[in-house]
Amino acid sequence: MTHTDISRRTAPPVTEPPRASVTAPERRSARRGWSPRRRRDFLIFLAFAAPNLLLIAVFTYLPLLNNIYYSTLDWTLGSPDAAVVGLGNYVTFFTSDDAPRVLGTTAVFMLFTVGGSMALGLLVALALNTKARGTTFARAAVFAPYVLSGVGVGLVWLFIFDPGYGVLSWIFRSFGAKSPEWINDPQLALVMVIVVYVWKNLGYCAVVFLAGLQSLPTEVMEAASLDGANGVRRFLSISLPLLSPTTFFLLITTMLSSLQAFDLIRIMTPLGNGTSTLIYEAYLQAFGAYNRAGYSAAISVVLFAILLVVTVLQLRFVEKKVHYA
């Protein structure tokens, strides 16, 4: 697709309606290199785009700068006084127990949510990639959790995991075992949140993988199958390598959304006991019990830096292969 032909087009002077005379303002602007038409288009552009651009500037770009500024302060949220501490908050974070704990939790959460939703998503995509009746319904059903409220989904699963009255506790009991304390045990709490996150997001991976599978050239598959390659062999040596752009795209997008996961963690483990990822720690520090605004901002900046690295990776390696324009 040629994606910049219209946007780079310059004003076609030929279609300009003939004018009776050259007016004074036109001569003035012509001297500056701006024809009245260009100036009019400029104003129209502003009228159409300015409200949105202004909102993006104030609520997306300005906060990035403010975050960096706040991160240099020793400041209790709500207090009128703040002391400039420079990189103090960062030093505190990286030299205290917080950094290994929070970064470790973030890494484990990201590794298992990305790996889990991609692996299971691929399996589901393979199951969906048939001509069997009902695939349309199954595809929609599998995708559905991705669009549902994380708060609602989190509560439903919290009930399922409930050690006293949940379905899982009943299954454990029917095997004569006792239900683990999913919420109180920090490690199990992390497992629980990862499971639910994968459940909610694997449909997205499945649908994207399915689109990738269906765009594979059928001739290659047929040739391989004539050569006697079985299904598993065809999948491993043809489908999987050909899917690599899709796989890489999903790897990046699921990494980015995993780093931003908040709803499930907040609703299932409000205290963040064992589940405090960067985003959740930043929330807890500012809006939990501590009101440490400066420290929270520093953690947000660390998170943003990581997101930036992932995004740059995406731009460097995927731009050519992924269909953006």
Partner: protein
Amino acid sequence: MSTAVTPAPVAAPDTAFSRKNLLATLSAGYVPLVLATLVVVLPLLWMVLNSFKQPSEIVTTQLQFLPQAPTLDNYQAAMTTVPFGRFFANSLIVTAVGSTVKVVLAILTAYALVFVDFPFKNVVFVLILVALMVPAQVSILPNYILIAGMGGKNTLWGIILPGLGTAFGTFLLRQHFLTLPKSILEAAELDGAGHWRRLWRVVAPVSLPSIATVALVTVVSEWNDYIWPLIITDKPESMTLPVGLTLLQNTESNGAGWGILMAGSVLVILPILVVFAMLQRYIVAGLTQGSVTG
């Protein structure tokens, strides 16, 4: 992965309906499909079933699958312990106003980026692309300080305002507008139609599927939005449904409260599930944009 598309000439051909073939089709086709669907559907079904159960059927060691005497008590309890009607109304207002403004802004910006001549258009587009990659989560503290300073705490406009700028909608509609044939606009231009008329009479009507996609994805994300409304509200009167559900969770933390919490979850999840069931084609397309290789 259908194994029956091209019959391999070497292998002994099975008749189409032989038992071996049927078994293979079932195990390769239906069993995984049904399994995947069940994994998704069962937890949601469990939520619905339990929302109609009485506490005695939930607080029990014997698993009761179906409610023995279906009751609406949980819904009533959810509505009375917290102002659920108010949460619902707030969510409706926030979603309706927020989505409408965002869609209109997206259409206007995308039109300007594609059809209006402006020297720094590509710079503007890159700025929007970058904004697309900045998650709202890293901006919550500065935005909280900004909005709270403007007196927007516990107000609906305070919930709506910071999210109004739309990079996603602009991006998606720009990509669509670029595919429109220039000829349709040139005809309108020759008829003397200005940009405003060209947008609403020509470009918007032929772009309805894309606009619907943006609108639906926006509605879903506004309805589900959690972190920002959670931070900017602490009074029930201004809470949206997901935040209200958190409030309900705090008041119903014993085992008997699960039925009430499931009723609350149904009220949050069901509207989006219905919208999704009806219009999933648009929503799936919108959310998986950019993933198609080419």
